[in-house]
Symmetry: D2
Subunit: 140 residues, 4 copies
Amino acid sequence: MTFREPVSLKAVNALRQNTMIDHLGIVFTEAGDDWLRATMPIDKRTRQPYGLLHGGASVALAETLGSVAGLLCLDPEREVCVGLDINANHVRGIREGIVTGTARPLHIGRSTHVWEIRIEDEEARLVCISRLTLAVIPRR
Amino acid sequence: MTFREPVSLKAVNALRQNTMIDHLGIVFTEAGDDWLRATMPIDKRTRQPYGLLHGGASVALAETLGSVAGLLCLDPEREVCVGLDINANHVRGIREGIVTGTARPLHIGRSTHVWEIRIEDEEARLVCISRLTLAVIPRR
Amino acid sequence: MTFREPVSLKAVNALRQNTMIDHLGIVFTEAGDDWLRATMPIDKRTRQPYGLLHGGASVALAETLGSVAGLLCLDPEREVCVGLDINANHVRGIREGIVTGTARPLHIGRSTHVWEIRIEDEEARLVCISRLTLAVIPRR
Amino acid sequence: MTFREPVSLKAVNALRQNTMIDHLGIVFTEAGDDWLRATMPIDKRTRQPYGLLHGGASVALAETLGSVAGLLCLDPEREVCVGLDINANHVRGIREGIVTGTARPLHIGRSTHVWEIRIEDEEARLVCISRLTLAVIPRR
C-alpha cells in the first residue's frame, strides 16, 4: 500500500473547489491502494483551435493526478509535495468524448516521488503518457 | 525572420475563441519576428488546491505559445503542426498576479520544430521553463 | 507483432561494432515480438566521479535500446529512424554489478515512435526509467 | 557568482579519472562565474551504428556538465548533488569533429538545481539541448 489510508473520493473531489481542476471539469472517479483515476471532458474548456483536445489539458490532468496521488502518500500535518518537473508525449489526437487518466507510482522515496500518468480515450487507446517528479517537503 | 509574416495579435487572439486558451484567460500580448508572448492570470481558473499556480496551467500556457508560434511559421494551406511532446520544470511557486510566457525557436526544421517557452512572474523571475517538440504535417 | 521478423541477437549485436554501444560494454541479450533487452556493466566505463553509475550511461543504454528497437520495426531499404528527444528519471544510485534495460513500445505510428525503457539492477529494482521519441524518415 | 570559487580546470579535469567522462574523451575546457564548458570527440567511442554521434553520448556530455557545474556551487564537506532527471532534444545529426557543451544555471535553489546544457558543433550550430534537474543532499 502506497497511500496512507483508503482513499475517500469525496474528500479528494473536495480539493477541486475554486481550482483549475474544477474549471477544466476534471473529476476523480476511482482509486486503489496506490493508483488514482480521473476523467476530463473534451469541450471548449479543453480544446485547442483545431478542435482537438489541447495538449496542455492532458498535461493539466496528468499533473493534477500525480500531485494529488503524491499527497495521498503523505502525512498532511508533516509534509507537502510540489511538482518539480513533468514531461508528456501526445500520441493520439482526439475531438470528442472524455479522457480518463490514471496515476501509478514509479518511485516513492522520502524526498522525491516519480509518478506515471496514462491518459486514454473511451476505447482505452493511449492519448498521452506523462511522468511527474515531485519533491516532498517538510512543513515548517 | 522565422514567422511567415508580421504577426497580427488580433488574428492570433481570434484563435482563442471556444478553446482552453480563452477558458484559462490566456491573452497574446506581443510578438516579434520569431517570438510570441502571452499572459495568464493566477486565479481560480489556474490555481491548484494549495492556492498556488497549477503546474498544469504553466504547461498549458507553454504548449499554447509554442504551438501557435509553430503555426505562424507555416503556410496554413499546405501544413499544420501538432505537439509531439513537452517537458517543463517548475522553479518558483506563485500565488497572485499574472504570469507572462514567451516562446522562442530552438530549431525550425522542415518536419519538426523545437520551441523554448519561459514563463516569468511580474518581477521577471523564472516560474517555469519548457520545451515543446512539434511535428509539421502536410495537409491532405 | 511490432518487430518485422523474429529478432536475431547475433545480427543486433553486430551493430555494436565501432560504436559507443560496444565501448560502454552494452550487449543485447534477449528479445520478444515487440521488446528488446540489453545489459551494461558498472565499471570505469560507466561510472561518474563518486563511483556510482553515471546517469548519462543509463540514458545511453536507453537511447541505444529504443533506437535499435525502432529500427527492428522498419523496412531498412525504405526507412530509417532517428531520436528526436529523450527523457529519463534516475531513481536509484548503484555502484556495482550490471544493469538490464528493456525497451517496450508505447506508440508505433507511421512517422513517429515512442518507446519506454526501464533499467533495473540485479534485484529487479528500478534504476532509471526513460521515454524516447523517434522520427521515422523515408530513405532517399 | 553561482560557483563557490573561481574554477580550476585542472581540478575539474581530475574528476575524470576512472570514469565514463574520461572513457568518452570528454575534457573540461573553459569556465566562468556560473558556466562550465567541455568538448567531446565524435569517433568510435561516441558514434551509433549509422556513423552519427550517438544521442546517448550527447546526453552523457550534458549530464556530466550539469552535474559537475552543480557540484561547483556546493560546499563539498556539507553537500552533494545527484541527478533526478534529464531531458534532451537532438536537433542536428553530426558525423565528425568535436562537439562543445556549455552548462548554464536556470535555477539554483537550496534543495534543487536546474541546469541548461547546449551542445554545438564546430560551426556553433545547435546539436542538442538538454535540461538537468539536480537534488542537493546534505552529507551525513
